[in-house]
């Protein structure tokens, strides 16, 4: 049978089938029985630590499917390896859209990779939902109406830190150690925005490290000798831990602020040494699964039950698991709200009109909010201080919007 006849037959059968059930409006990737969700993740290569997110999400969708799916439709989750390389991400994203026909792209990881696919997805009008990066550029509905961020963006968080420093230590001398990429640069921008004219005077040292550097000892020594009394630790987990440890080892005790990217007790502070991390300040929007205060929290109990059943052997201390769990929960919320109108337009409409949505592991007081002009779903953080055992929130929920 030639291809044309066969596909026509399939189409006719499908028409008959949908006619019988008579319900939904669909874009490619959605039907009465299935919703196809695509994603690219670095399962191989230097950034493979982040792939834990994709695995947690796959497990979450499996759980949803076993509970009956989303309004009766099963989630088919296609998460492909991009090796953290933008050209590969473009290739795999095109495969997902053109060959696998997914309804939307969900939480693909990396600033460069999402930048590489952004233009393509917007031209094709495929939702690029909840990208897994805090780069501030992924919240630009005017130019890219099909692209939306998720986590608090780096600039926003940096603003919160800088405001806090200005308020509590107006005469601070600040040293900044940052990763030499968009993550570090965005942070630096946020800090400088808030400090304004005072930036030149207050920031006494800006230094960077590369992800290929074996250690950052030299940078910490440099920061100490700059005479700074506030240290901004803008680093990914391994380097954040190295910075905390080295500062303590050379007997330097500045006020140290660290990004939420690395605010994991299990993956960063324990390796650095809990005593050395005492009095560290960070910001957070997710509850730390190792925090004793949330031991009896029903959402936390459900999270542990999920890990036990669907990801046996997974490390609950790994903050990527919690990240994947929550972002997946947010996507399910959007798809549920869409009801039977699973068109790409409606997905974006629902995603851009979220009002006070609660997710299982968000810190008390933080909710998901978007509007057609605001594509930053989570923009609040709580400042937290490490007491040597666990994080203690202090002050109010602060918004970086």
């Amino acid at each position: 049978m030639n291809r044309f006849i066969r596909s026509t037959l399939v189409a006719v059968t499908a028409l008959v089938a949908t006619g019988a059930v008579a319900a939904g409006k669909y874009s490619p990737g959605a039907s009465d029985t299935e919703i196809r969700v695509g994603q690219t993740m670095p399962y191989s290569g230097p950034a493979s630590a982040y792939a834990a997110i994709g695995k947690a999400q796959a497990a979450y969708f499996q759980m949803i499917n076993e509970q009956g799916g989303v309004n009766g439709r099963k989630i088919t989750f296609l998460s492909l390896d991009d090796g953290y390389s933008p050209p590969k991400a473009v290739e795999q994203t095109r495969k997902l859209v053109e060959q696998d026909e997914v309804l939307l792209l969900f939480n693909s990881l990396g600033t460069a990779n999402n930048t590489a696919t952004q233009k393509y997805l917007n031209a094709k009008k495929v939702p690029q939902l909840f990208v897994a990066t805090g780069a501030s550029k992924f919240g630009d509905p005017k130019n890219f109406p099909w692209t939306m961020g998720w986590q608090p963006n780096y600039v926003a968080e940096a603003r919160v830190f800088a405001q806090w420093v200005l308020k509590t230590r107006p005469d601070a001398k600040i040293a900044v150690i940052s990763q030499n990429d968009d993550f570090g640069k965005d942070y630096l921008r946020g800090i400088k925005e808030v400090l304004g004219d005072k930036a030149a005077k207050m920031i006494v040292l800006e230094t960077t490290y590369e992800v290929t550097d074996p250690t950052v000892d030299s940078q910490v020594v440099q920061a100490k000798s700059s005479g700074a009394d506030v240290l901004m630790n803008i680093a990914t987990p391994k380097f954040a831990a190295q910075i905390i440890r080295k500062a303590a080892d050379i007997g330097w005790k500045p006020v140290q602020l660290m990004t939420d990217v690395s605010a994991s007790v299990g993956a960063v502070l324990t390796p650095a040494g809990l005593d050395k991390a005492k009095d560290l300040i960070s910001a957070s929007y997710l509850k730390d699964p190792t925090d004793a205060r949330f031991k009896d929290d029903p959402a936390m109990k459900a999270y542990y039950a999920f890990l036990k059943k669907y990801m046996p052997g997974a490390d609950p201390k790994d903050s990527f698991n919690a990240y994947g769990y929550n972002s997946a929960a947010n996507l399910i919320h959007v798809l549920k709200t869409c009801g039977d109108d699973l068109t790409r337009e409606n997905v974006m409409k629902v995603a851009s009109t979220m009002k006070d949505v609660e997710l299982p592991l968000l810190m008390p007081g933080i909710k998901v909010n978007t509007s057609p002009t605001d594509y930053y779903p989570i923009a609040e953080v709580v400042l937290i201080r490490f007491d040597g055992q666990q994080w203690q929130p202090f002050g109010d929920v602060m918004s970086g919007r």
Binding site: S44, P46, S85, E91, Q118, K137
Partner: protein
């Protein structure tokens, strides 16, 4: 095989390659465009490593320079995409030639290290704030994808594939003539019997630096095409892994062969995808295992094995 038969075979192969996109979806066409682009790099690298005996673990750097040259010319000077290719090639020829000078003094592992260092330093240099104005720093540069010219009824992907194919064919012909001619003989002589060759009056320094330049030029043109096809260049796209996969490509394809560039390109384009399909948990383990199988089964690469098979068929 008679020369006429051989030319006929090549023409047939090109005709099939040109017809290919009309049987494929746009996405598949895009994949084959990538493979062609890699084939151009591998061809250039093979001129250097296979014929001239100089190893390079840093061709990703020249690929990056080519890609950035094209992207900057398109983004900041508004050049059409096709006009950027000669410039990318020329710039990379210059870089390659200059790099070939210290490389004259370095052999074997030392040259491998020097070129590898180039690959390692590339992302850092691309991010450097002194040139951020042109390179876009960590954010990279987003470019437009070209439409088919003269109102031809071709999708962007099919057009770019055919455009790439035309350039690849031209560069293959150039390389083929190069290795068949005086230059090729001089290079092989220098590789196998350096002292004898110099005694015969072959100017080793000139030939070796020039072939470094030509090899870099191939990588640069391919890089420009790669930047155009992906519509985006950023430091993250040009890590050491890229350079290493180029070396994997020439060895799997066949050292010191022209056709090997194609086989190697197909390998580095498609095997990682297969590995990803097989295992999400450890895709690199699958990739490495496949690589080992290839090396054990075909120590000289695919091209040499095909020649052996063809040879025994003829005898049979």
């Amino acid at each position: 095989m008679t020369p006429a038969l051989r030319v006929g075979g090549v023409v047939l192969a090109v005709a099939i390659a040109a017809a290919l996109p009309f049987f494929l979806t746009d996405y598949r066409t895009f994949q084959f465009t990538q493979a062609l682009i890699y084939a151009i790099v591998l061809l250039g690298l093979n001129l250097l490593t296979g014929y001239s005996g100089q190893i390079s673990l840093g061709h990703g750097a020249f690929y990056a320079v080519g890609a950035y040259t094209a992207a900057i010319l398109m983004d900041q000077a508004g050049w059409p995409y096709w006009a950027t290719l000669p410039v990318a090639g020329a710039v990379c020829f210059g870089f390659g030639f200059l790099f070939g000078l210290p490389a004259l003094r370095l052999h074997g592992h030392y040259l491998a290290f020097a070129t590898f260092a180039l690959a390692v330093a590339t992302p850092q240099i691309l991010k450097y704030k002194g040139i951020e104005h042109w390179t876009g720093g960590v954010q990279g540069i987003v470019t437009l994808k070209p439409d088919a010219p003269f109102g031809l009824p071709l999708s962007q992907d099919r057009w770019l594939y055919l455009f790439t194919l035309a350039i690849a064919v031209a560069l293959f012909v150039v390389a083929w003539n190069l290795v068949r001619g005086r230059v090729g003989r001089a290079l092989v002589a220098l590789r196998d019997h350096p002292i004898a060759a110099e005694a015969m009056g072959v100017d080793a320094a000139f030939f070796k630096t020039t072939v470094f330049g030509i090899s870099a030029m191939y990588a640069g043109i391919a890089g420009a095409l790669g930047g155009i096809a992906v519509q985006f260049v950023s430091p993250d796209a040009f890590t050491t892994l890229l350079s290493i996969s180029f070396v994997v490509g020439i060895v799997v394809g066949g050292i010191a062969t022209i056709s090997g560039a194609l086989w190697g390109a197909l390998f580095i384009q498609f095997v990682p995808n297969v590995a990803d399909q097989i295992s999400k948990a450890a895709p690199w383990a699958i990739y490495g295992a496949v690589l080992l199988v290839f090396i054990y089964a075909m120590p000289g690469g695919v091209a040499w094995m095909l020649r052996r098979v063809a040879g025994s068929l003829r005898r049979a």
